[in-house]
Point group: none
Chain length 184, copies 4
DNA sequence: TATGAATGAGGGTTCATTCAT
DNA sequence: TATGAATGAACCCTCATTCAT
């Protein structure tokens, strides 16, 4: 789904995969901004392009289509979150601290990326298609990390046995947890 | 904006006033169904018409435009709910019973009208415009009824003083409570 | 073209062909009024019906379609004019008086029937189709009457020989004389 | 509202600036042709596009809507006429010559641009809206030029004092002079 | 890579016309 | 004759996507 043609990736050097392609990111952020403002369906690709400071056609060099733009926002945001989470969690052995850091990171991300948070909350539920695709990949990993923290903490006796990772997830993910099918 | 004429109700037999759909209602339900399935923006008016078993143009005899179709779903559902609520609440003097009935009615409505419930949850937050219009009319009345029940019960000593009607509303309305401005 | 279904003409008695069918005339006048106001293309048949105080469907009992409505306005107006002209001209032998009466009748008709006059001037030239049909029938007769008056007057020595019926026609019919093809 | 970009004029060769149509002009001429043939209301935008050899959507890159297409025909034609008139009038000092040139230009324009002339005559009076907009801008300037020529000629003693610029205007503009408000 | 003019499929909406009553 | 609800063909316009430069 990612679909960002890398035809020009020849210049890409090792170790800079994440930081490169500022235009990719610029378009993504512009899309988030515009989608947050007008809603996905009302938003025009040309608006996104203008907000990103590129030509309309350029959007299609980095994204397959409008849909991909939306999908990529989620993937990108979740990817960033998960990467940071893994990094931060590796810095401590204490389960409580891990849970705390995970939570803080979760909310600070949402705060820092207002547009993305809005798009998450509003647009994600639009389409079951999106949700299903999303929940089987990034969301699954999100939950997995959480589960690991909690189970580890329970084994070490830091958390009560009754603590349920699903409940914790609900507290964190909040309202947009109620997508169809996954149902927890 | 509402239904205009009822002359076509000629075939209406005694005892089926409730189940027999007027054309207005038929189109409304069809719209809810189609919107629930495809989402408002992906849905085509012609699909709604087909689902309602009428010609495309007929939709516009009963609704101003596609937007009005969505708005009317909410108004109609809330109107029905509020009417039934007032009726049922009038049948008892007991505050606890009132609260119970109100809650049961709330959830049974959502259950019986799956499509509308889905559209409510998914599409309503789309547009701030919708939400604002909606929250100042029907939602306001919904909250008002709830507040009256609770205050009455508190005066009679049936409910604890700390019981907060806003919290009760949140329990009932759940996730889609986060409309702009009202904010609680 | 006339096309006014006479299915209900059984009740029509001899001698009242012209005065009967007040509804036909009512619709015709309403059409002239609405067309004059909004222009033929912007006018809606339902507007005409409302202005005439009848139901939409009723219009189609008297006229084949919207086009026929426009055509009939001209036919009817010209028919009335020509009939009156013949009547009035028969009342005198004097050519000058005939010409005077013809002219007075011409302008007083236009004055009395403002709406029709406007429709004449504005809508008639719309369509070559209209014009051709019109100019070969009613207009031809109009010109014929005028020519007869003038030639008769010239024979009697009341008008100068150089007097040209075409010029006279132009003075009377004015600007809307320049339709394609007839060219005089 | 006018043409936006000219980057597509790449194929433009020297010496054909006048005859080579920009896309804006091509669409305008196509519109005039189609409108002249079918009348504004019967004409379809897709016909105009086809006649201009562009896609339907392209029309909307150069014109706001179908209405704008009609308006622009007038503005463009009058703009061209006025520009040429000013140029030609600047080449002579003789008032009679000026008046002659103005008249010749007037009629030769109408002759060369048959379609536009027809649209002028037929469609312009359709809408009071059009006429008012038109008569307060381009037409006003047209009359102004004429007035200046005549007054100048009268001062120099080349024209009789009784010569009335309004009468001259009527002779040139002919039947379509009867717009609302200006009234002469 | 980048551009943005051009494309054209698609859909909301209107309204002349029909037809069952 | 009269009604007016219902029909559905037709058309304007938008905008995601392409492609020549």
């Amino acid at each position: 789904m990612q679909a960002r043609k890398r035809t020009a990736a020849e210049g890409m050097e090792a170790g800079e995969e994440k930081t490169r392609s500022t235009k990719y990111e610029a378009i993504l952020r512009a899309a988030a901004k515009v989608f947050a403002q007008s809603g996905y369906f009302n938003a025009k690709v040309s608006e996104v392009a203008r907000a990103a400071g590129v030509a309309d056609g350029t959007v299609y060099l980095y994204f397959k289509n409008k849909d991909d733009l939306l999908t990529s926002i989620f993937s990108w945001a979740m990817g960033q979150f998960l990467q940071r989470a893994r990094t931060e969690l590796g810095e401590t052995e204490d389960s409580s601290e891990k849970l705390r850091r995970f939570s803080v990171l979760h909310f600070s991300q949402l705060e820092q990326e207002r547009d993305i948070a809005i798009v998450f909350q509003i647009e994600l539920r639009q389409s079951t298609k999106f949700m299903e695709q999303f929940s089987t990949t990034y969301l699954a990993e999100y939950l997995q990390i959480l589960r690991e923290i909690i189970e580890e903490g329970q084994e070490k006796g830091h958390f009560r046995k009754e603590l349920n990772s699903k409940v914790v997830a609900k507290v964190l993910l909040g309202p947009w947890t109620r997508w169809p099918r996954t149902g927890y």
